[in-house]
Symmetry: C2
Subunit: 255 residues, 2 copies
């Protein structure tokens, strides 16, 4: 049983898209998967088709112990994939965070309480170093860092490495980087190839062999509330996420 945070302070690098599509691909491998949406924008909740009017209990209520896990966990169109939606109350964590060490461990209390029911729990983090992201990194056993094959996203990688080292020293000694994932790779541009080789040659840590191609199918799928594997069966992007799921499952097994 493993808790994986999908995080990067840089915005728009494909965190939510990776959570939705990797969770779905892992479920098709027969794993029992829970996706927790920790982003107040609630885009993972939208992309999985959880209706906005069906979010009375979300991860915010669960962390504040205002509901049971059973009330917050939703089934999705895929049998092996469940999800806990995000909600408006999460914004309160960002603007006026509860004080004290306890506020860093709120999510970990939730994941510790339900980890034996799942093979994998994926955490979709917001684009910031706020309390919500810190909660994800305290609760996680490992971390996937999506990086667009572009300049700013690469510069952000350095900061993520510093953040992970700070988390290990202070709050979560066992946190490890499962891998950097290259996303939105447009093989027609020199920039993408340059950034990819820069990351593969210089990043001090694992980089997944699988890279996700830029594909409009991926950007279209969430408006239909489904992962790309259902929206565009057999497409290059759907295949890439299936390959990634195998790589992730392999990386966890060999710990």
């Amino acid at each position: 049983m493993t808790v994986i945070a999908v995080a990067n302070e840089k915005g728009g690098v494909g965190k939510t898209t990776t959570c939705i599509n990797l969770a779905s691909a892992l479920a098709s491998l027969g794993k029992n998967v829970l996706l927790i949406d920790m982003d107040p924008q609630a885009h993972a909740s939208n992309g999985l088709g959880i209706p906005e009017n069906d979010r009375a209990f979300t991860i915010a209520e669960l962390m504040m112990e205002q509901c049971d896990p059973g009330e917050a966990i939703r089934v999705t169109s895929q049998p092996e994939l469940s999800a806990v939606p995000a909600g408006q109350k999460l914004v309160g964590f960002e603007l006026s965070p509860p004080a004290g060490a306890e506020s860093r461990n709120l999510l970990k209390r939730v994941t510790d309480g339900c980890r034996r029911n799942y093979d994998l729990i994926l955490l979709d983090a917001p684009p910031s170093l706020s309390l919500l992201t810190i909660n994800c990194l305290v609760a996680a056993d490992s971390l996937i860092i999506p990086v667009q094959a572009e300049y700013f996203a690469m510069a952000a990688l350095v900061r993520m490495v510093q953040l992970v080292e700070m988390m290990r020293r202070n709050y979560n000694p066992d946190l490890k980087v499962l891998g950097v994932l290259i996303t939105m790779f447009d093989r027609r541009t020199r920039l993408a190839h340059e950034v990819e080789s820069e990351i593969r040659n210089n990043f001090q840590g694992p980089v997944f062999r699988t890279r996700i191609p830029r594909s409009v199918r991926v950007a279209e799928a969430p408006s239909f509330g489904m992962p790309v594997s259902q929206y565009a069966v057999g497409s290059p992007a759907a295949l890439a996420y299936q390959l990634l799921a195998r790589e992730v499952a392999q990386a966890i097994k060999s710990g």
Copy 2:
């Protein structure tokens, strides 16, 4: 003299890219422009070529009154364009914000102090609803909301409108939306056209006529520390930002 915040909670929609290229295009129109980088990632500072080892005084020190404006303001390669870089200390605002009403007005104190020296001040906000973004919206006279022509970015527009209304009610009654800016527009995809017509037909506010095309030149330029107008002179993207600068100057004049 106008202070414009460039903000959107959604990550990766082109806030920083718009700040750098619009500031440069406005400077080429002869406006005296100051760009303030309020994002701890400091990507606008990188993209303008301000060396990392030349950031002893940043917007963080200026807001905490630990230095003078003259020490924090940098010239850039363009005579009419100056900038205040971001720095590591900004993260402190996100993780343990100073308490009280004063913490919302820290940036406004800075912009009020130097606005008479400039025609325009642009504020690059981070992707969140944190204290740093709130500071931008308190200090601003108007707001530009960049939106990628994609599904998640469109969903984020609704939240931004709610945020602006809350800001107007509580902290900044004169804040107005100068316009929504459609960015990374790929005219080969149906998705881009659908999202554009959805925004132009349904958004209750101004949408700039100019839309910024997706162009790898734009993504390449920051790695050379220059705006796209210098990196790819005469390119469609450079031209689009020049047209945008005229539209922005016009919208401000007719207030």
